[in-house]
């Protein structure tokens, strides 16, 4: 199995790393209903359509892709906030996708989520204190915290809340306040505090900074990194901002139309993207240096994301691919395979990845290429 080879490669590179989460063949399909009186299902939106990934403990996995590619749905399906249609989500040896309601509820302590819109994700009628104590009431303090904060539940809950506030950089005075009284960055800190207060192992951050001012984004990203070091967290960071993901991630997965098209260590991905979609995405990042910006070659991505209810045959990207080759691309669906020969440790879903890397396959149409300004 390719997965086994890959984790073996990771093991040799960074010592023995335990895989905390492994997702296998995950699918989330939403039925499209129609009908006046009786609903009948006329099709499915394949939001997530067969994703495999492996996340070692303590690492950050960045998930990128344009809106509608299924990255948020994937994140929610991992936490089972969305029911997976098929596949396995193995978290610390247990299949989340098959857990019954009560064990799942208990398991939720260990997997938390940070939401995109901090205001919408906080109940407007709850004060910060009540927001942060609620999860503790439901699950109780984690074993690790009990030693520190004592066994008396309400006093130790409050002590834990105060220390958590301190940790995310909010004053004690925030306790009695309500979400609408804070700024965007402060609200996201509250959201982060709520996710972290249960001492989770895995935190999925769904666009954690895209609703924030640029000046605050860096602070929140730094906070997430600091908490990771402090609490030994494993992150999945979902974002469309490639700069944010690069800064925080160890490994990056690029999604297109419900599937992973490329997965690589973050620096390697930015240095040399291999999948045509990733290449196009990277070339869309402007470089803040007019001289370099003018000299580089850019690739235009034409058209919109095809409908996930009716994905294209063959390679899902072939309708927009600037490197498309005749016949094979629109008939055979490429598997996400590791390029053991040319780029070990990287997985790409493209028939011609090696040829693109070596330069044998080039952009087929001159219109799609923006030549450097001379």
């Amino acid at each position: 199995m390719a997965e086994h080879d890959r984790s073996a490669a990771l093991d040799s590179a960074a010592g023995p790393v335990r895989s905390l989460l492994s997702v296998r063949g995950l699918e989330v399909h939403f039925p499209i209903k129609q009908g006046l009186v009786f609903d009948r299902t006329v099709g499915h939106v394949r939001a997530v359509d067969g994703v495999d990934l492996e996340i070692p403990q303590g690492q950050t996995y960045g998930l990128v892709g344009e809106s509608g590619c299924g990255k948020s749905t994937l994140g929610r399906a991992v936490l089972r906030l969305e029911e997976p249609t098929a596949g396995e989500v193995i978290f610390d040896g247990e299949d989340i996708a098959k857990l019954k309601a009560e064990p799942l509820r208990k398991m939720r302590r260990r997997m938390q989520m940070v939401f995109q819109d901090p205001l919408a994700s906080l109940n407007p009628r709850q004060s910060v204190q009540s927001l942060l104590i609620e999860p503790l009431r439901v699950h109780g303090l984690a074993v690790a915290d009990r030693a520190q904060f004592g066994a008396d539940s309400s006093a130790s809950h409050l002590a834990k809340v105060v220390s958590m506030l301190e940790l995310v950089g909010l004053p004690r005075a925030a306790l009695a306040k309500y979400p609408h009284e804070f700024s965007g960055g402060q609200r996201q800190r509250i959201g982060i505090a709520r996710a972290m207060i249960l001492n989770p192992d895995l935190v999925i951050a769904d666009e954690p900074v895209s609703a924030l001012d640029v000046s605050v984004q860096a602070q929140v990203i730094n906070l997430l990194e600091r908490l990771q070091d402090l609490l030994g967290l494993t992150y999945i960071v979902i974002a469309h901002d490639l700069a944010v993901v690069r800064h925080i991630s160890d490994t990056i997965g690029v999604m297109y139309l419900g599937r992973l098209v490329e997965e690589a260590p973050s620096d390697a991905l930015y240095e040399r993207p291999l999948h045509p979609y990733t290449i196009a995405l990277m070339s869309a990042i402007p470089i803040p240096d007019p001289v370099v910006e003018d000299r580089r070659e850019r690739i235009l991505l034409k058209g919109d994301l095809p409908s996930p209810a009716n994905p294209p045959s063959g390679c899902r990207f072939h309708t927009r691919c600037p490197f498309r080759q005749p016949t094979r691309c629109d008939t055979d669906e490429p598997a996400l395979r590791e390029l053991t020969q040319v780029a070990p440790g990287r997985r790409v879903a493209c028939h011609y990845a090696e040829e693109i890397l070596s330069g044998e396959v080039r952009v087929r149409d001159a219109d799609l290429l923006i030549e450097p300004v001379r």
Partner: protein
């Protein structure tokens, strides 16, 4: 990402000092407290509240305020088929067609309107909230079934529904309240269900689930409290309508059967044939109904504005 400052992430204490500004007061402003503050700055709300307050006070303290006992017909000998005595020193608004003091009847009428209005709206709210809450909490087939039931109720004009219920129940004391409540149930049901559906799609509900809260807790302590705002506003507005409907049903002869109980709607009916000779008999109860309804409407509208998140400053 050169803006990232590693020094900042290393010092949580300095960071908390940094975030501390602008949070000097220890007490937060909750949603309802904010709404109350906005209400107290709104002139329409103040007028509405004053009218409602006056109405409630008059209704409660009717025995103290009224100059005479109600519906005693002590002065029936002064009433002739062609003339009802007008204002005089003993009777500031004159007599009614049955020889009772008109002012006394009006004051006691407020009591009747308040009781019927509040009780019927409470019953309607309870019934509607129950139906809407069940539909909103369970969704799916339960939702479809309950809402079709509500649609059927809604397809009957509300006054017609009230009239039919009152007619079927006969001249029982509670009949008019049930009749008015029956017409309100579908409105409240739809409102609460829609409001709950909107809240259920919010991120904070998803967040509650991801924190591991039980479904029951999520619905009862997160979804329902956040959905009640529009329902409460509707209840104050419905109170105004209920008072008018009480008058309408009494006018149609379906109101409280005991003629000794003063009631504005019935006063209108009895004054009908004397409209030309003694218009005050009709105008005064009519005015009472109109002003009270206006008061509740103003208050309800102001409450709606105060609770609307978009008007929050």
């Amino acid at each position: 990402m050169t803006a990232l400052d590693p020094a900042q992430s290393a010092r949580p204490a300095s960071l908390s000092a940094l975030m501390g500004d602008g949070m000097s007061d220890e007490q937060g402003t909750s949603l309802w407290r904010g709404a109350f503050e906005r209400l107290s700055r709104n002139p329409a709300a103040i007028i509405g509240t004053l009218i409602v307050l006056a109405f409630v006070l008059v209704a409660i303290f009717a025995p103290l305020l009224a100059p005479y006992e109600p519906a005693k017909s002590q002065w029936i000998d002064q009433v002739t088929p062609s003339d009802v005595p007008g204002p005089s020193p003993g009777h500031p608004l004159g007599l009614d067609p049955f020889g009772s003091d008109l002012l006394t009847q009006l004051i006691y009428g407020a009591r009747q309107s308040l009781i019927i209005g509040v009780v019927s709206t409470a019953i309607g709210l309870l019934g509607g909230a129950l139906l809407g809450g069940v539909a909103g909490a369970f969704g799916g087939r339960v939702d479809t079934f309950v809402m079709r039931l509500v649609d059927i109720m809604l397809s009957i004009p509300s006054l017609l529904l009230a009239v039919s219920v009152a007619a079927v129940m006969g001249p029982r004391p509670g009949a008019i309240m049930i009749a008015i409540a029956a017409a309100q149930v579908p409105v409240f049901a739809r409102l609460l269900r829609g409001s709950m559906l909107a809240q259920r799609g919010q991120d904070y509900v998803l967040a509650s689930f991801s924190l591991g809260l039980r479904r029951r807790t999520v619905v009862m302590s997160h979804v329902v409290p956040n959905s009640l705002g529009p329902v409460i506003v509707q209840a104050t507005l419905t109170l105004a309508t209920a008072i008018i409907e009480v008058a309408a049903l009494s006018y149609l002869g379906l109101g409280a059967s005991d003629p000794a109980i003063a009631e504005w709607g019935r006063m209108l009916v009895k004054a009908q044939d004397r409209l030309q000779t003694d218009p005050q008999l009709m105008l005064l109860p009519g005015l009472c109904i109109a002003v009270t309804a206006l008061g509740f409407t103003l208050f309800g509208e102001a409450l709606r504005e105060a609770l609307d998140p978009k008007s929050r400053r």
